[in-house]
Amino acid sequence: MTTETTRTAQPVTTRGISAYRGYRPPPGMISWAFHRITGLGVLLFLLLHIVDIFLVNYGPEVFDELLFLYRHPVFRIGEIILVGAVYYHAANGVRIILIDFWPKAYRYERQLFYGVMAVFLLGFIPTAILMIRAMLNA
């Protein structure tokens, strides 16, 4: 992976975003970028979540005291975005595995991309409605 050839090719990546102006990314590139961003975002939350659940060991007073954080409106909106990120990452992950293990899948790249979006929206829209309703009723 770390070969001398990749290291000499470095200037291409440092040219900046302006080098790509007017370039329309194919669906595979958009779904890849979303996959990486949602993955790293969910990882960041996972680390925070491990710390907060560790605090159950310190008893109800410490743990419940800290829950005001997750009940804050900003965090509840973040929670909905987090669930959206998880759903997208899951749906697109299935697409990646399909392409890896089913050789002819690349022929249906566009259809698979729309399939991912359909699965994502079918899962996320009802989830988001329920979560927003619970947030407003709180």
Binding site: M1, L46, I53, V56, P60, Y70, G93, D100
Partner: protein, 137 residues
């Protein structure tokens, strides 16, 4: 297979650690779909942060099933996520020294968070706080 189709997606590594991590990424991903979607629906949709508190966690972790479920999810999600971060490091960090530094941080995070997460899931004993819990409500 590789001769029939054009280059699509990430190339499958030819062997060694990279091949194991490639398979782990996909197998853990498939398992995590069920574990995490189940977790999200139970903890964020059916129940919400309004209902979930210390007592909720204590009741839930009375069951060995949910402890096993949560520990498996912790293990797979942490390693899956940090493996993803490792690939991102390999994509963006070129100088060898910085790359070793970044990898060291990721391995350290994996170890530390696996330990504190396991302590939380496996050693939590609600009976220690029974008196406090009843006093509190």
């Amino acid at each position: 297979m590789a001769t029939v189709r054009p280059h699509v997606g990430r190339e499958r590594p030819s062997g060694g650690f990279e091949l194991y991590s490639w398979y782990f990424f996909r197998v853990s991903g498939l398992l995590l779909i069920f574990l995490v979607v189940g977790h999200v629906v139970i903890m964020h949709v059916v129940n919400t942060v309004d209902e979930i508190d210390w007592q909720f966690v204590a009741d839930r972790w009375n069951s060995p099933f949910w402890r096993a479920y949560d520990w498996l999810m912790l293990f797979l999600a942490l390693l899956h996520g940090l493996n993803g971060a490792r690939l991102a490091v390999d994509d963006y960090i070129r100088p060898q020294g910085w790359r070793i530094f970044a990898h060291s941080i990721l391995w350290t995070l994996a170890l530390v968070f696996l330990i504190i997460g396991s302590i939380a899931v496996l050693t939590f004993d609600p009976s220690r706080f029974e008196a406090v819990a009843h006093a509190g409500g």
